[in-house]
């Protein structure tokens, strides 16, 4: 009886080892089919989780609502003034772009996708979306949300794809300060968002400057927003400076993203 039980255990172990070591592509292909079947259910679970999470986060923030409200009203007034000035700049920009034949990302080059699953543990940052190769997606394409680059496609099946987020500690992208044109490398940090490093000591970056992708290496298009400089770490005895980069994107609460196709 025990021998039979031990045999069964060994068989199950062997199946597991074979699946992991030799069946990766097959398993992932099957996973793509499984993902497309369970996608509606996963979406419901994700909505349930987001709703519950938002409710508890809201309850925790009630006491700060008054202060936040006052601050936001002031920001709205400042932004309205800035908007009026920016409208004029946009008109001038459009005229110049037409004259120079520059192209920003056309709307028909963005494929919308819903997030159906997240990384099942805490230190890596990937999400799964409900679009795949049948929607024109390919590995390496940029993914944006609210006008900000959030990652690139890592694995693509027929109906789903996995997005490698910029806040993953393994993600690296060549970037530059939009104002001073200083170059650097942006990567994710566990629990701390994004950091821009390898900034030469003789170059300037300022708090509040926008950081964009530089397009170096040809992996991702140039000009995609990564965030704003939040703080600087400048030490005279170091070869490079580093800067903390922040954005309004809540990477743990992504629900709708856009894939830049045809880049």
């Amino acid at each position: 009886m025990r021998k039979k039980g031990a045999q069964r255990v060994l068989i199950v172990l062997a199946v597991g080892v074979v699946l992991v070591l030799f069946g990766r592509s097959g398993v992932q292909a099957a996973g793509g089919i499984f993902g497309s079947i369970t996608s509606p259910v996963a979406r419901l679970f994700r909505i349930g989780g987001s709703g519950s999470g938002n409710f508890f986060r809201f309850m925790g923030q009630i006491k700060n609502l008054n202060t936040s409200n006052d601050r936001l009203e002031r920001e709205v007034a400042e932004l309205k003034l800035q908007l009026a000035q920016d409208n004029e700049l946009r008109v001038q920009n459009d005229v110049l772009r037409r004259q120079l034949n520059f192209n920003s990302i056309p709307a028909n080059k963005l494929v919308p996708a819903e997030v159906i699953a997240y990384q099942p543990d805490n230190f890596r940052e990937y999400i799964t979306i409900n679009r795949g190769s049948r929607d024109g997606l390919r590995v390496g394409q940029a993914v944006v949300s609210e006008g900000t680059l959030i990652g690139k496609l890592a694995n693509v099946t027929t109906s789903t794809a996995q997005v490698f987020l910029v806040v993953d500690p393994d993600f690296r992208i060549a970037a530059l300060d939009q104002t001073t044109r200083t170059t650097g490398t942006v990567h994710g940090q566990i629990g701390r968002g994004l950091v821009m490093e390898k900034i030469p000591q003789d170059q300037t970056v300022n708090v509040g400057d926008t950081v964009i992708s530089s397009g170096l290496g040809g992996e991702l298009p140039k000009g995609l927003i990564l965030g704003q400089i939040e703080s600087l770490n400048h030490q005279n005895n170091e070869i490079f400076q580093t800067a903390q980069v922040s954005s309004n994107i809540k990477y743990n609460q992504l629900e709708l993203v856009f894939v830049v196709v045809g880049q």
Partner: protein
Amino acid sequence: MKIVGIIGLVLLTALIQVSFLPALRPMGIVPNLALVVVLYAAVELAASEALATAVSIGVLLDIASGVDFGLRTAFLSFFCLLVIIIRRTGADFSRLSMAVAAVVSAGVLWNVAVLISVILSRDTILWGQAIRIIGMETAINCLLVLALHLPLRWFMQNITGRQPVVAIRG
């Protein structure tokens, strides 16, 4: 009935682990429900059934994960086997304290394994942040064990046709 119950448990665990819990993120942390379910499978089911549960959940989580394919399958299988072997020496994982100790130890080991894979591919980690995250995940996993100790054992004993337990033994 048993097979249907186990398959349902595997699918539900995987779906909750990849879709519901990361969206909920209590205190910004994703709890490890898969670890808790595998523990109780190792306690209440036959060895081969428990291992099949661990392998299946691990494969589904590996498919959903974008990196380190096979790590979750290997770890959950190893954890399941370890619990089964330790049980044979007389340890009683149906006691709440033992269950909590098992999940805490395994949870810390799991996070260390993930961090090692990060270190091997890149250079530095903010250890303060990493330790904070591990600590908070451990605390939330303990709460998960407290909440699911009776329901999971009841469910698994039901599908195996045994008399369900109604008491908590510390």
